[in-house]
């Protein structure tokens, strides 16, 4: 097999593309530009970390099934961990989002990074909502019966039935986490490829 033939392989082309765009020093950097020095950056890391905790505590809940946490003190505690990791996740993500907005973080060809972040936020809201209606307690009864009217008004309620516990649970523990993980991965890879957006050059230039 000639080297030209090898170079034309899909695998070779993909590897070279990844190596070019994302060399090891970008995946695991050991330096950062000096402007990356602000409390706002903490919330990006906190979002990612709390998302990990949300997934881990969700997996712990899944081990014993959807009813377990109602009947066991230990299960209820795991549910509490899941709840608070979700609250921290959204708190961090909202501040991260606003911070990035006021940094105009889409500049320098980072529009897709912004957009994947924004879509991840919306997917996370859907994931949080399906979690609330999957709790199988009074909260889930009330929230689902109230929310059905909004979703029905869009026509989507015919296919996305918030009163169907099985459907909501599947969306909550399979489909939406899968999408959120994929989007988060793409988002983080884009941040690593493009780097953190630099500050506005100076007052004379930005005026």
């Amino acid at each position: 097999m000639s080297s030209v033939e090898i170079d034309r392989q899909w695998t070779t082309r993909l590897r070279k593309r990844v190596e070019g765009k994302l060399p090891p020093e970008k995946v695991l950097p050991d330096t950062q530009p000096s402007y990356v020095s602000s409390w706002i950056y903490v919330f990006g890391v906190a979002t990612l970390t709390s998302f990990t905790l949300v997934l881990l505590t969700g997996c712990a809940l899944a081990l014993r099934g959807p009813q377990w946490w109602h009947e066991s003190n230990y299960g209820h505690f795991v549910n509490s961990l899941h709840l608070w990791s979700v609250e921290i996740f959204f708190f961090s993500m909202v501040i991260h989002l606003w911070g990035k907005y006021f940094m105009a973080a889409w500049r320098g060809g980072r529009q897709l990074t912004w957009m994947t972040g924004g879509i991840t936020f919306l997917v996370s809201i859907a994931a949080g909502f399906t979690g609330y209606v999957s709790q199988s307690n009074f909260d889930s009864q009330w929230i689902s019966t109230q929310a059905k009217d909004g979703i029905n008004a869009t026509g989507a309620g015919a296919y996305f039935n918030v009163l169907n516990l099985g459907q909501m649970l599947m969306w909550h523990i399979v489909l939406l986490p899968l999408v959120a993980v994929l989007l988060t991965t793409v988002h983080v890879v884009m941040v690593r490829i493009k780097g953190v957006v630099p500050p506005f050059a100076d007052d004379t230039e930005v005026a």
Binding site: Q32, W84, M103, G118, F121, N152, A153, E205
Partner: protein
């Protein structure tokens, strides 16, 4: 010729000083700190778990409310009975001007409240002569006769009482309706109606659509939610029972329901959803929207964020 520099789109790539950065150490520390924070919050505050309301619980706590709701299911005047798509054709559903997506999609989760919530469950009960005859009379009656029976019963139901375990309504012109409502109430109070609506001819089930719709047609669920500060006027479903943050990130969605024209419109849900979809699109496409993408530069909040950088 070089392209003009646009401050809200372009950047001057950084060629200045770098500082040491240990990404793995940062990640590990963040995980440790947030794990401790999550554990602390979980230990101190726990999480709410108010038991769900069953039809059995509702009909025992408020038998008259249950019976009145059952009547409204029988004549199709309940919220579900008069809902429209995706449950039935009783109304056209919400629209924004000529756009009615609900109608376009149509009835996909068909529910006939009289049959599904009253007649079918009663038909599944063990043989009782009065009820058997009542159901037979109902089945053989014309739509018009049924309507007269239910209307006569409804007219007298303002004097409905629950006495000695029986629903009592002073009317003799309601055909089999008194027997049906009384037996359905007894069935509900025993827990059999919960089972009947949930099982739907299947042993395994995870679909609670019918039970939830029936329960939400009564006032017991809403009264209980109101006591837990969960009503629509109390910012509704973004809250949860107890003093927990709930879905605080839904504040904007709940906010629109509190102000005109949304809080008075019959199409509030459609309007609020359309508005939220529009705002969501604005957020996603903000890098391409002149004006919106200039706000960060013009407000100069970035100088606070990059305070150290601008100081140096």
């Amino acid at each position: 010729m070089s392209k003009k520099f646009r401050s809200d789109v372009d950047v001057v790539e950084w060629t200045g000083r770098q500082r040491p950065y240990d990404i793995l150490k940062e990640g590990a520390l963040a995980l440790l700190i947030l794990t401790i924070l999550t554990l602390t919050l979980a230990i101190i505050y726990g999480s709410p778990d108010e038991r769900s309301i069953t039809i059995k619980k509702w009909s025992n706590a408020a038998p008259v409310d249950f019976a009145m709701t059952a009547v409204s299911e029988l004549n199709g005047t309940s919220t579900t009975g008069s809902y429209g798509p995706p449950y039935n054709h009783a109304s056209t559903g919400q629209a924004i001007g000529p756009v009615n997506l609900v109608n376009t999609v149509g009835v996909r989760i068909p529910i006939n409240t009289a049959n599904d919530f009253v007649i079918k469950p009663l038909s599944a009960l063990p043989y009782q002569a009065d009820l058997h005859q009542g159901l037979l009379n109902w089945k053989n009656a014309t739509e018009q006769t049924r309507a007269i029976w239910v209307t006569n019963y409804s007219d007298a139901s303002s004097k409905m009482t629950f006495t000695d375990g029986q629903i009592v309504v002073p009317t003799a012109t309601a055909g089999p309706v008194p027997v049906m409502i009384n037996d359905l109430t007894a069935m509900a109070r025993s827990g059999a109606l919960d089972e009947s609506l949930i099982s739907n001819n299947s042993f395994y089930t995870t679909d609670f659509t019918k039970t939830l719709l029936f329960i939400s047609d009564g006032s017991y669920l809403a009264t209980t939610a109101d006591k837990q500060h969960l009503s629509g006027s109390q910012w509704g479903m973004m809250n949860e029972t107890g003093s927990y943050p709930g879905q605080a990130w839904l504040w904007m969605y709940s906010f629109w329901y509190q102000i005109p024209p949304f809080n008075t419109s019959g199409n509030a849900d459609a309007l609020v959803w359309a508005l939220m979809m529009f705002l969501s699109l604005l957020m996603i496409f903000v890098p391409f929207i002149p004006g919106l993408r200039s706000i960060p530069r013009k407000t100069r909040v970035y100088r606070l964020i990059w305070r150290d950088h601008y100081k140096s």
